[in-house]
Amino acid sequence: MTTDTRAAKSNGSFHNWLKDIFLDWDRTQMMISIFLLGLLALAPLFIDSTYYLGIIILTTIYAFIGISWNIVAGFSGQLLIAHIIFLAIGAYTTIVLFNNFLISPWVGILIAGLVAALCGVVVAFITLRYGLKVDYFALFTIALMVALRTLFLKWKYVGGAVGMWFRLTDPSFDKMIFADKPPYLYIGIGLVLIGLLIQYRIYRSKMGKYFLAIREDDDAASALGVNTSLYKALAVIIGAAMAGVGGGFYVMYVTFIEPPQVFNLGLNVEIVMAGPIIGGLGSLAGPVVGALLNKPFAEIMRGLLAGGRSGSSLIVYGSFLILTIMFMPRGVTGVLHTIYRRIINRFYPEETGDS
């Protein structure tokens, strides 16, 4: 009988634990993201093709970069269009540190994050100093990207127009070089998990609320004691640092970098913007859900339409994005939220579904 009660008790606390998570939409979104990552982690058990595993690895990178952009554009509402700048800077930093200074990429990607964060400080400073609002800020970041492309094309130290190859050595964990794909996948998943945790912590904190307040109405935020300049800058710097780290891992995986490849609005749309927008900009599950739909779709289109006229895959891809925005302005997560509210209202009418 004692066993029974104990079982009932532990069963009860397990039930409470479940309720704690699933009656809270923020936590539910975390669970959705982690569940999807778990599926990706199982992929090597079923998939041998290095091509498909490669797509999955890139999906994790897209998800991580998506999270970094979600914090800037989704939470604080700043239209940092050419976010890929920070990815590029992180990638170049990592590869230069490895090729020229033999610094392990494990350390290199952290330094890449720091360097990208410093660039974020510069961007934030210029933006705030000259009071660039929404659309001017967006144009400024695009102009900056074009300027940086030209600079990197002429800059011999980083390979100029030729670009830089990763100095290949024998596979070793220290150098983050592996003979097969799965280790890259697990590093990618680890990164996304860390990214999700950072995103969640920010979202639930004072800083996160301030970001959202600024996005919704920055005069009103300012009247409630929010130092809007400081928090706008913080959002850019955090997003930049994360994109720098993501860029470092990106270049470790693709092993090559050249200016037209990374200072590129097309890739910017695909790697930075499409995921969070499809998944639901400003939501917690958006970047992961979006990346899982976005990357494979882009890749399948490329595969199917590769034989046709060049660019036709981009037309299909672009149309897909436009349709998503038209019919799901709050993304897939927005649709999931509506369904979630209905389920909660039905089974737990007392509960609010938020905490």
Binding site: R204, S205, K206, K209, Y210, L212, A213, E216, D217, D219, A220, A221, S222, A223, L224, G225, V226, N227, T228, T352, G353, D354
Partner: protein, 243 residues
């Protein structure tokens, strides 16, 4: 020493002098009404006191500290909070999160901010709406939310910019009662209001401005008898009634 001291503030927009040499003072726990016809410069004065505009001349002191040159968030930290005539909710956030943004003014802890927000939401009788998104509220509740956000910052003074405009008579009465209760908490209030009934029943003193200049100051009873005020402001009401 008055809690809020405004000394001859002037604001010019191009050739137009929106506020011309306005002075007023407000003591702890007092309710001061600021009235005047449309375009008299009331909101401009509010914007200067709360740091959204910089006065071209004159000074604003709060507890003896000069506010000129401080940002709105710094002024809010000192204990002066404001609402907006055109309400500014954070539309996609829940009512509770809206109020929490204000509550974070005095704490960094989520639970404390949450607790404070819920307490204020209850004080304003909006507990059933705390999970609703602010964008879905009716005008009356939006006005109330505006007050809730300001109150959550734990201010010593609240500047209420036409908190009753556009409300139905019963809603106005509820709001008047709320303002009284806020005042009883020891918070001083500066009211900009068009609805005369509101000002007359709430304000300890009234300042009347017209074309940016102060034309009268005194208790409500004196103000209604003041010739200049009747000409400039109350006269319009009579015409309205006849028309």
């Amino acid at each position: 020493m008055a809690l809020l001291e405004v000394n001859g503030i002037i604001k010019r927009f191009g050739g137009l002098v929106a506020v011309d040499d306005l002075s007023l003072s407000l003591d702890k726990g007092q309710i001061l009404g600021l009235i005047g016809p449309n375009g008299a410069g009331k909101t401009t004065a509010f914007n200067m006191i709360s740091g959204f505009y910089k006065p071209d001349e004159g000074e604003v002191y709060f507890e003896g500290k000069k506010l000129n040159g401080l940002r709105p968030d710094q002024i809010c930290k000192l204990g002066l909070s404001r609402t907006f005539q055109v309400v500014k909710p954070f539309p996609q956030l829940s009512v509770r999160d809206n109020v929490m943004v204000g509550a974070y003014n005095r704490t960094n802890k989520r639970m404390q901010a949450r607790h404070k927000a819920l307490e204020i939401i209850e004080f304003l009788g909006m507990q059933d709406l705390s999970e609703a998104t602010a964008g879905s509220l009716s005008v009356a509740y939006r006005k109330r939310l505006e007050v809730a956000k300001a109150l959550a910052t734990d201010p010593k003074i609240i500047l209420l910019d036409e908190a009753m405009a556009g409300l139905r008579p019963t809603e106005t009465d509820e709001m008047i009662e709320l303002v009284r209760q806020i005042s009883q908490r020891g918070i001083a209030l500066l009211l900009v209001e068009h609805v005369m009934r509101v000002i007359m029943s709430l304000a300890d003193r009234i300042v009347v401005i017209h074309h940016g200049e102060k034309i009268a100051e005194g208790e409500p009873k004196q103000i209604v008898k003041n010739k200049a005020v009747i000409d400039a402001y109350l006269g319009e009401v009579e015409i309205d009634v006849k028309g």
